[in-house]
Amino acid sequence: MTTLTDPPKASFRLSQLIYDTRYRSITIQVIATILLIVGIYWLVNNTIQNLAALGKDFDFGFLTQPAGYDINQRLIPYTSQSTHGMAALVGILNTLLVAFLGCILATFLGVTAGVLRLSNNWVVSRLMAVYVEGFRNVPLLLWIISIMALMTEGMSRIREFRVGGDASMILNDSVAVTNRGVYIPGIILENGFLASSAMNWLILLVILIISVIVVRGVRKRADAVQEDTGVRPTTWYQQLAILIIPVGLIMILMGAELQYPELRGFNFSDGVHLRNSLIALWLALSLYTGAFIAEIVRAGILAISKGQSEAAFALGLRPNRTTSLVILPQAMRVIIPPLISQYLNLTKNSSLAIAVGYMDVRSTLGGITINQTGRELEGMLLLGAFYLVLSLVISGAMNVYNNRTQLQER
């Protein structure tokens, strides 16, 4: 005999909102939403009241007004008559410049130090440990101002570079290290295709990118041939030629010429002037982040079990092939995610430019512009939004790359 109990009646009592797990999550979320809305309303209302009390409004119009201040380092044309928006753009480019240079040098330093720290050579590994611990445990700001002080206090003054002076240029008279910055040779395009030199460089960049894409194609075809026949065609000279010849040809057509810095009067002219602020920020960021990257690289290599290399040796692979075909591809998977976050840190840390007066976006948009226009709310919002977008873009791009390398796991 079966007794059928009636299913519980679908009655709804108010207390179910709290005690019944089916409804409780909705209750909690509703409460959270209400609290959030109330909180945001409170903040916005306060802000409106405060702005009104100060007689200010919320307006981004200042971006189109003339800035009225000079920026000593700029990658695009800018004068004091340009707008605040333009000044912000110059600052953004400067931030990106130092972040880009920093990431490259930091990766180089970090990989070198990380690999050498694992070396059997006791002296080298100790030396690298000193480097890593020294830079990791002292604030970045201290390194930035130390390197700045080294540049401004320790280097020769420009007048000592005159004939009969104490100092002389290094590297076959091509680089001058002075207390006002480093002067290095620059490439000029004497008869470019377009009037603006920036556009000419852009053309070169586009050609270089196309070359890189073609090189990838060549490599892919070599892979295909290898899959089919088991023999990999030798393509390194093709790749090299595709990379170098088009760019080189266009540069020669544009009349590229190396221009050495030369002392004229009281200053160096020609060549490229790397300001102390850029050098100090760049070196400090790279050395500091490099120490962190070294630890990441070391951990990545140590994470690969010894069996992997032993198996590779058993297959008869030579040590360098073992490293490049077995160890590194696996280590990269461990290394890439923390490496991305180090790049992000470096980019964010570049805002310490304030310590040396490097004109990055925080100094232009978040510094002088705010002081001149009194628009701290709008300025800080834009500044925060810039860093946020930059972080999201970098981490997004790197995550795509990360996902692609991860997929090869299975």
Binding site: A32, G55, V123, L127, G366, G384, L392
Partner: protein
């Protein structure tokens, strides 16, 4: 078996041979060196390069660090001492600046007589930390001390009445009580909300009046006696200050005397070294002249290269094509520039020798006195010096010849001129060598004479430093007493007016209410005249501004009464202003407060990010990503520039507190990510096991998940703390004086203007010690936890 073999084999070994000593190259230090340092050509190269780098760094740093000056009152004095030891101003560190200012770098402007308070707070921090870090080794009850520690530390550092921290802590007690009571009656959601509301109510509405009431109660009884003490002090303190000023004048005189003695010693040493200086004075212009001659010679070489390239004058050699002409013009300009350079340099070098050097006979005459007496060969050397005319005559001739050089000149002419300049260079070089030989000999003969004065100078500097220390102590006392005097005077006057102020409050209150009632209802909430609509009449504006003025007067009178009572009725420690807190202490306060406050917030955020509740999850993700995506320095500027916009009008609070809030939010986002990693690393079975036991969400989190996840995350949390601690130096940009801020302040002092490395090394070492120790601790934890997992 052995019998069988016994017939066939004559000898069978039945014992192993003793282990042989390995070859020399395969044992001990040599083997270690061979395998570790010199195992292959790449390794040898690396070893040599790194040893060279180490040598370079040590040879630069060690003499500087260990040859430094510890006793000096300014950078100039440091340089004087270094100079008397034959060191350049970069040859030795001026550690005297650290000796002089280290307390400031550590404590900022905190009153020296109260240093024990932050030190005690810091020591107690370790006791509070013990139950968290070494839970198995200390009694469990100590956790109550850990919970009370934040209130104790705040009270110790900022001072104030002893009941203030107790009242603040009561907020949590009230919250917990409400939670317990409500938890029994209703469900957890209502209980939690109720607890939060009760605690906020306590802090917002109840705590203040209780505090004021206590102040008033204690203060009211003290009013008379306090006025009497203050009046007595007003008589006594000026006398004390005068006495102290007399003492400090004495000390200043003593210091001036010691400085005079020191200057005499320097003078005496300079007199011993006077011949050195005489030779130096000859040497320097000649060296400059030599460099100029070398420059002239190089310029001629470059000129010859240009003329050679263009086969004569560039402008004449060029053909008609346009670019060629312009290039020729450039080359010709350069050639003319070089010719000008040659002539100028020759003229300048003549000037150097002619005007700045004297005849060798004069130099020799100066030597005769003392140095030559010890080392007669100096005089023979002096005879070898060439007469001024021997150098100048050929140079004058060369200069005249160089005037004749043009771009049309033949390469032979230029070559001949070069050769002749080289001849003069050689003779000048020989002369310089002789001079520096003489200088070396004089220095060698002076060394012994200088040993005694150098030692005397060092001891004099030590005495001077001791005198200055005493003077500093007196100056600090004077400052303390005179501050107490002026504070006492202000306080006395506010005590005198206290009854009047209290009497005036009701009247002011009525006045404000009357003015408020006179306003239209819609305008009563406004806080500034500018908020009125544009078409408001001037009467309306006047009415509103009258009301606002009356309101602010009333509030300020009430605040001043409350302040007076707080000072009068305080039973506890002397309050310290946040502005006086600085240096390394500031970094520690911000760092520790940031981590302690951010930990609970970070846990909640991490749980929220793991949550299945859509909205809660999205709120947490947005918060974490926004905070992490923007640099700390931008958040700090937001805290100092913008926080006032987001809070109710009229709110204004301490910059240090704002910094701590921003740092806490910042660290919470990072800690949330670390803990999320810990949560994700837990096996799903743990979550499922907790669910299957029928535990509620919070029970399972509290009892099963979080203890394990936190254990995994501890190294990450420590690393976040190290990062946060280093980042505290960023507060220098919003005007707080952290160690780096103090390094700037010290450099702004004329005594220490131009000092960098000593301060940087000291500050860097402070941070290094703390961060390195924490890093080692986290490594140790990592190892310990790994073993437990196995």
């Amino acid at each position: 078996m052995s019998e069988v073999h016994g017939q066939t084999v004559s000898y069978v070994r039945d014992k192993m041979i003793d282990e042989q000593v390995p070859p020399v190259a395969e044992a001990g230090a040599i083997k270690w060196l061979r395998t570790n340092l010199f195992s292959g050509w790449l390794n040898i190269l690396l070893t040599v390069i790194s040893l060279y780098v180490v040598y370079l760094a040590l040879s630069l740093v060690l003499p500087w660090a260990f040859g430094g000056v510890w006793n000096a009152g300014s950078l100039t004095e440091c340089r004087e001492v270094l100079f008397s030891f034959y060191k350049s101003s970069h040859g030795g560190a001026c550690w005297a600046v650290i000796e002089d200012r280290w307390l400031q770098i550590m404590f900022g402007f905190y009153p020296p007589e109260l240093y024990w308070r932050p030190i005690l707070a810091f020591a107690l921090f370790f006791i509070a930390l013990a139950p968290v870090l070494f839970a198995d080794k200390v009694p469990g009850q100590l956790i109550w001390f850990s919970l009370a520690y934040p209130f104790i530390a705040t009270w110790l550092i900022w001072g104030g009445a002893f009941w203030a921290p107790i009242l603040a802590a009561m907020g949590f007690v009230v919250g917990v009580l409400v939670l317990k009571v409500l938890g029994k009656i209703t469900g957890p959601i209502v209980a939690n909300l109720g607890a939060v509301v009760a605690a906020l109510l306590w802090w917002g509405a109840i705590m203040g009046p209780i505090n004021d009431g206590l102040n008033k109660m204690v203060g009211g009884g003290r009013l008379e006696s306090r006025i009497a003490t203050l009046q007595e002090e007003a008589d006594r303190l000026p006398r004390e200050v005068a006495e102290m000023e007399a003492i400090s004048a004495d000390k200043a005189a003593g210091i001036a005397e010691a400085v005079a003695v020191k200057n005499d010693m320097l003078q005496a040493m300079a007199e011993i070294r006077i011949e050195e200086f005489a030779v130096e004075a000859q040497l320097e212009p000649k060296e400059i002249a030599l460099r100029r001659l070398v420059g002239a010679e190089e310029s001629l070489e470059n000129l010859a290269a240009i003329l050679n390239e263009w086969d004569g004058d560039p402008t004449a050699a060029s053909d008609a094509s346009e670019t060629d002409v312009s290039k020729a013009q450039v080359a010709s300009d350069r050639a003319s520039g070089l010719i000008q350079d040659v002539s100028d340099l020759l003229a300048e070098s003549i000037g150097d020798i002619e005007n700045d050097t004297v005849e060798p006979s004069v130099v020799a005459a100066e030597m005769v006195a003392s140095a030559a007496a010890e080392d007669p060969s100096i005089l023979t050397d002096a005879d070898a010096l060439v007469a001024k005319a021997t150098l100048i005559d050929p140079l004058t001739a060369l200069q005249e010849r160089s005037e004749g050089i043009t771009t049309q000149s033949s390469l032979d002419d230029i070559g001949a001129l070069r050769v002749d300049i080289m001849v003069v260079i050689a003779s000048l070089d020989a002369d310089i060598a002789t001079l520096s030989g003489i200088q070396d000999k004089i220095i060698a003969s002076n060394v012994e004479d200088l040993v005694e004065p150098q030692a005397a100078l060092l001891s004099q500097m030590a005495d001077l430093a001791a005198l200055r220390d005493e003077a500093t102590v007196v100056a600090q006392d004077t400052f303390r007493v005179s501050t107490a005097q002026s504070n006492g005077r202000t306080f006395l006057s506010s005590l005198m007016t206290l009854p009047d102020q209290e009497a005036s409050v009701p009247e002011l209150r009525d006045q404000t209410i009357a003015l408020r009632d006179a306003l239209p209802r819609s305008q009563r909430g406004l806080i500034a005249v500018s908020q009125l609509p544009d078409d408001a009449s001037s009467d309306e504006q006047a009415a509103l501004s009258g009301y606002l003025d009356a309101q602010s007067t009333e509030l300020s009178i009430q605040a001043s009464i409350a302040d007076t009572y707080a000072e009068l009725g305080r039973v506890g420690l002397r309050p310290i202003d946040s502005r006086d807190i600085g240096g390394f202490m500031l970094a520690l306060i911000i760092g520790i407060a940031g981590i302690v406050l951010s930990l609970p917030l970070g846990i909640l955020l991490a749980l929220g990010r793991q949550s299945h509740l859509f909205i809660v999850n999205k709120i947490c993700v947005t918060f974490i990503e926004v905070i992490r995506g923007v640099p700390l320095i931008v958040w700090l500027f937001t805290g100092s520039l913008l926080l006032n916009y987001f809070l109710p009008p009229g709110t204004n609070f301490d910059l240090l507190l704002r910094v701590i809030i921003m740092v806490t939010l910042f660290a919470a986002a990072y800690i949330a990510e670390v803990i999320r990693g810990g949560l994700a690393a837990l096996a799903t079975g743990q979550y499922e096991g907790a669910d299957s036991l029928g535990l509620s969400y919070w029970q399972s989190m509290q009892l099963i998940v979080l203890p394990q996840a936190m254990k995994i995350s501890i190294p990450g949390i420590v690393n976040t703390f190290i990062g946060l601690f280093k980042d505290t130096v960023l507060v220098v940009f919003i005007g707080l004086s952290d160690p780096i801020g103090f390094s700037n302040l010290i450099r702004a002092d004329t005594d220490w203007n131009g000092i960098y490395w000593e301060l940087f090394v000291f500050i860097g070492a402070l941070f290094f010690i703390f961060c390195f120790a924490m890093g080692r601790y986290s490594l140790h934890l990592e190892k310990k936890l790994q073993r437990e997992h196995r």
